[in-house]
Amino acid sequence: MIRASLLLCVFAISACQEAAQPSQQSALTIEEIRSGYTFLTAETQALQDDPFANPGLLWVDRGAELFQSTIAGEASCASCHEEGLHGVAATYPAVDESSGVLLNLEGRINQCRTQHQSLDALAYESEELLALTAYIFNQSHGLPANVDISGPAEAAYQRGYDYFQTRRGQFNLSCQHCHTENWGKQLRGDTISQGHGNGFPAYRLEWQSLGSLQRRLRDCDTGVRAEPLPFGDPRYIDVELYLAARSQGLALESPAVRR
């Protein structure tokens, strides 16, 4: 009796993992890798390129101020990072040496706030966290993503890849169905891009705001009627790492402008 029900349970569990198996389908070749920018209309491209009109730069400016400022008597970010943080964002997500945890840039900023400044962590999509993230990403503008996927990051990269390849939601689609197999095609009014994260944090016209890469991932999950993961979920950080590695050599454009 007990044995039989155990067997049944194991069967039920494995049957449900079966449905969530990632597929091993096609990949982008290096020659065809293109930024989301190349799928935009000329007007949206011009908005991104114009240093006076790109709305994302407001957050960059605000981030620069926050970086210099002293909050509640704590040392400012700038006092510890005198040289600035050039090229740093391109290496994120990265494994934190002391804890072994994979951190995205938002997580790293919050770790400095809690460990080095005795301040509370900032919430995702708060104006302050967006501003600091955009400011630091902007210091890697034009550089290719340069993430380490070896050693302790290897397992996270593999999990991110699996998330990308796995069907989910009521529409039962994986990221690769749209962004690897069907980029360039029209999904109603949208041209599907290759789904790179190189423009984020980005100003989306639909959001009327700057937003993090995780906000974009939540929109894509919601689009296939999947339950989006909570902001900051480690599984999304794994996806961020996979996306950065997948974009092989594509220059960072944050703050990009997107539809």
């Binding site: 569990i13 449905a19 969530a20 989910r168 939601g169 039962n172 749209c178």
Partner: protein, 151 residues
């Protein structure tokens, strides 16, 4: 015995979307579902609305039907203007119900299926994307899409 089934049932529902199949294997013949899913026949006019409206089938997200009054039709899937020249009603029905039955890698969503889905949004967990009636309305509408209507 009853307890055993109960335990298994609980586990199945806990992992989400492993519900019983809405269409039995016996209803499938080759790449078609020959018999309608409802007693009442489908309706072309309603089918056209299901096809276009965002809160119904919204098939125009990925398909073009020339002459249809809907802006920005997508082209991720094939043009369906003359789909009935290629496919009969049973074949069209299977492709809308669950094309993955015969094409496992396909991008075409399964509109009448609840089993083996994963991470489904809470608001959508209880029912398939479309009702049996909506499927039949679509099948009737699309079955009339021939280059020569009088055939």
């Amino acid at each position: 015995m009853i307890r055993r089934i109960l335990i298994a049932g609980l586990l199945v529902s806990a992992c989400g979307g492993n519900d019983p199949r809405l269409v039995e294997p016996s209803q499938i013949a080759g790449d078609a579902i020959p018999q309608p899913l409802t007693e009442a026949p489908g309706d072309t006019h309603r089918g056209k609305i299901v096809f276009s409206e965002r809160n119904q089938g919204h098939c125009v997200l990925c398909h073009v039907v020339q002459g249809l009054d809907a802006e920005f039709q997508g082209n991720v899937g094939p043009d369906l203007t003359y789909v009935a020249d290629r496919l009969n009603a049973g074949q069209i029905r299977l492709r809308i119900v669950d094309y993955q039955l015969v094409r496992p890698g396909t991008l075409m969503p399964s509109y009448y299926r609840n089993h083996d889905l994963y991470q489904v949004g809470e608001a959508f967990a209880d029912a398939p994307i479309l009702t049996a009636e909506q499927i039949e309305d679509l099948v009737t509408y699309l079955s009339e899409m021939k280059a020569h209507q009088d055939e």
